[in-house]
């Protein structure tokens, strides 16, 4: 693993771009914050804690998925991926570098949600450690999915539409903004294909908002391993 490249990319493409392109963070935050507001109004504040915890998960998930647009843009438009193929980095390094960049890029949004969580007395130290692990796992799985999607795209224009659909399916449809027990159990397992579902269910359990559902912990671990492995083999790199 080329850690030097991964850290450099995270520094430049993650941290430096926060200052140079803050509109992107605001855009990523706009949907979860709008939904948080709607949940607050419609439930008269009753479900707002769900929306704070779920909003954080939806935000991190959507940041990871938006990587599909970036990686397709780098490959098809900028030709930057070709430039890096002919160095010695491996596709996995390239993907992890993007993942870490997105994670640090998402920090201002994460901080905002942590602040909201504090306002509602949601977090303590133990829960926060679990939440960090969930966030790392989630950004890895969503970035893996985004790289697999972008690798199958031949025309750049298609990526924006596909990313939009996938983001809704993985960030808003799962029980991120509402209690998971509102959803029939069978349907919950179907939408658990999206890594945001087990992440949201676990988070609701950890923060005491809903009963803990242990099976989702196993699903989350399994999905992280599966999506990372799939990405390792399916990410488009040296062309045939």
């Amino acid at each position: 693993m080329n850690l030097k490249f991964i850290l450099t990319m995270a520094w430049y493409y993650g941290i430096k771009t926060i200052v140079r392109g803050p509109s992107y963070i605001i855009a990523s935050l706009s949907t979860p914050l709008t939904l948080l507001f709607l949940v607050f109004v419609l439930s008269h504040g009753a479900l707002v804690k769900f929306a704070v915890v779920g909003g954080l998960i939806a935000f991190v998930g959507s940041v990871g998925l938006s990587g599909a647009g970036d990686s397709a843009f780098f490959r098809l438009q900028l030709r930057i991926q070709d430039l890096y193929i002919s160095t010695n980095i491996r596709p996995f390094d390239y993907m992890i570098a993007f993942t870490l960049s997105y994670l640090v890029f998402a920090m201002p949004g994460i901080v905002l949600y942590v602040y909201l969580g504090e306002l509602y007395h949601l977090f303590n130290l133990y829960d926060s450690v679990i939440m960090v692990l969930l966030m790392v796992s989630l950004i890895m799985t969503t970035t893996s999915i985004s790289f697999m999607i972008s690798g199958s795209i031949h025309h750049l224009r298609n990526i924006w539409g596909i990313t939009g659909i996938i983001t809704i399916l993985t960030s808003i449809l799962p029980p991120t903004f509402y209690p998971y027990y509102y959803v029939p159990r069978n349907f919950l397992y179907i939408i658990a294909l999206s890594p945001t579902t087990p992440a949201a269910v676990i988070a609701q359990g950890v923060f005491g908002l809903s009963p803990m559902m242990n099976s989702m912990v196993y699903i989350m671990i399994l999905e992280t391993a599966i999506y990372l492995t799939l990405a390792r083999f399916l990410v488009r790199w040296r062309e045939n």
Partner: protein, 279 residues
């Protein structure tokens, strides 16, 4: 030295993009010229390990491109056709990041990035986001990457396509700073003439000739090119132009008439090879 041996690339629908039996490419700065679709980019992408060949192999200093691609990647740099910078990052950041991908330490990446940016004339703008740079400066940033990497062999795929004449000259001067063996593809004949000692001509996925400029122009030695919008006997018809090659001694016959008289360039070799003669 690059040795190509039975290299083929066939895309879907049996479209043959490359079909080279045997060809050596010399060291130094050389150009591969050819029209769009001649196979230049496909060849460079295979040589720089971005693309797998359908069959055959090529060797750079006796290292197999197909089998030992990790070794090839250590000793070569490839700047893809129409590569564009990440606009939000500066040229320094992008050269530095590229060097860390090539395994440079943080310290040497910093040293080499600064050195290369100085050599290509970008040092004073190294901290500006590349979105704010001119087209020529953006291309020079990629040349700086090649320069900083200290690679033995550098592939530049159409490094000046789409640039205005002044920007092209800026990039040319940067390319001349490169010390490794440099293989560049171009369809600008004057670029090949300006930069390289030896030129390789490609057409329909194969090499059709090679040599110095003088050697290549030998078939047209002592001739000049006459262009007219009206039909000329024994001429080549391209678009609205009729082109004819005549001996220099016959020049007076064409002077003071509505003809355009031009010096022979490598472009003319493609005209006499690729266009049917109209009687």
């Amino acid at each position: 030295m690059i040795t190509i041996s039975g290299l083929n690339k066939i895309y879907n629908k049996n479209k043959i993009a490359l079909n080279i039996e045997n060809q050596d490419i010399d060291n130094g700065i050389v150009s591969i010229i050819g029209q769009n679709g001649a196979g230049k980019t496909t060849l460079l992408r295979i040589l720089s390990t971005q693309l797998k060949a359908t069959s055959g192999d090529a060797f750079i200093d006796n290292i197999s491109v197909m089998k030992e691609y990790n070794k090839i990647r250590k000793k070569t740099v490839s700047i893809p056709q129409e590569a564009a910078p990440i606009g939000i990052l500066t040229s320094y950041e992008q050269v530095y990041m590229y060097l860390t991908a090539r395994g440079f330490s943080f310290h040497s990446a910093r040293e080499e990035a600064n050195r290369a940016l100085k050599e290509v004339g970008l040092y004073n703008v190294r901290n500006r986001p590349t979105d704010e740079l001119s087209g020529g400066m953006k291309r020079k940033m990629f040349v700086a990457m090649a320069l900083a990497s200290n690679a033995d062999t550098i592939f530049l795929d159409e490094p000046t396509t789409g640039l205005d004449p002044l920007s092209r000259m800026e990039v040319w001067s940067a390319i001349k700073e490169l010390t490794g063996n440099t293989i560049l593809t171009t369809h600008y004949m004057e670029e090949a003439e300006e930069l390289s000692k030896k030129i390789y001509m490609m057409d329909s996925g194969n090499f059709i000739g090679s040599g110095t400029i003088d050697e290549l122009l030998l078939p047209l030695k002592g001739r000049i090119r006459i262009e007219s919008r009206e039909k000329l006997d024994n001429s080549y018809h391209i678009g609205t132009l009729y082109i004819k090659y005549v001996d220099s001694k016959d020049l007076p016959d064409y002077e003071n008439k509505y003809y355009s008289i031009k010096k022979i360039t490598i472009e003319d070799l493609f005209i006499i090879r690729g266009v049917n003669l109209e009687s």
